[in-house]
């Protein structure tokens, strides 16, 4: 497994995929083509689990995002839930003043009961 890094742009978040077991996605998410943009990320996660790895910490700190990003995050959490294990955690990090980021996190947590899904206010 290789590490992967995608630089932040005006419309897309900074993404780091660390083969030692960590994913960070920080920033806003308004890609022109959301599914194309996140395709390498989804692929990376799939092959990460295929390689037999278990331990994974997913840190997401998304300030603003569009509806297709929301759909994409559901897909990502689906993928995580399919490979759920005790060493897999998701941290949804948000600014205490950003109500909509918090509410989005609550919605995800509610939908993915099996995941260790933590809401963390900054």
């Amino acid at each position: 497994m290789q590490n992967m890094k995608i630089e932040e742009t005006k419309y897309t978040p900074a993404i780091e995929l660390d083969a030692s077991g960590a994913i960070t996605i920080v920033g806003k998410s308004y890609p022109e083509n959301t599914f194309e943009f996140y395709a390498p990320v989804m692929k990376w996660v799939e092959s990460y689990f295929e390689s037999g790895a278990k331990k994974l910490a997913v840190n997401m700190e998304i300030v603003y995002f569009n509806s297709s990003s929301s759909k994409l995050f559901f897909d990502l959490f689906d993928l995580l839930e399919e490979n759920n294990n005790p060493e897999l955690i998701v941290n949804w990090i948000y600014d205490a003043e950003n109500e909509s980021a918090m509410e989005a996190g609550e919605d995800f947590k509610e939908d993915f009961e099996k995941l260790q899904f933590n809401l963390k206010a900054k």
């Binding site: 603003y64 995002f65 569009n66 509806s67 929301s70 759909k71 559901f74 109500e99 909509s100 509410e103 989005a104 919605d107 939908d111």
Partner: protein
Amino acid sequence: MDIENKLVNEIAQLQHNFAETTNKLIKDIKRQNKILEQSDKRQRKEYDELLALKQEIEETQREVVFTMGAIGESRSKETGNHVKRVAEYSKLLALFYGLDEQEAEMLKQASPMHDIGKVAIPDAVLNKPARFTNEERVIMNTHAELGFQMLGTSKRPLLKMASIVAYEHHEKYDGTGYPRGIVGEDIHIYGRITALADVFDALGSDRVYKKAWEDEKIFTLFKEERGRHFDPRLIDIFFDNLDAFLSIRDRYRDVAGQH
């Protein structure tokens, strides 16, 4: 019997598959709805933030503009409500003249800045209690062009408008004004309107060096200056709607001793 059982099993399997598929469909639809709901909520929130931001910008702009006008006035010891009255008169004239509400509102904000160029006039001249010498008069009159230069570099529509107002508020309809001596409708409507609003208020106010004129005296002058100092159309508008202008004056009357 065997055949029957086989059929039952097949149907049971179909039933099971069907249930699985429909459950998945229901789950997907529910999720889609959730995403939509979530997005709608976020969009409304972002829209609220946008509006608040817009309001903040507008208020800041209003305050800056008003302060700039007040600076121009305070340097020449005008009374506190002069700025407000000139603003209101200008908007009213603009509306009656036929400018739309948005442009009239902008002029209301821009017209009080007409004397901003006075910040660059030396105190000794600006606040001289006696009559100006010719030389001092020339210096004084540069405030129009100075204001134009100060505001003219801005790309903001409001400040651009204010630069026109500053430049042309001492022009006269018959071409005897300054700084350029332009004539009639060559003088921008913003300049023509502010000229009338400013003079009307100046004549009707007490100043350190003079008492306020009686209304009748002002009206006589305005009639004489119709088509000379002032745009005849604006003078007609003024007299046709005199009550509206006087009620603005009453509303923003100066309190004695207030500066």
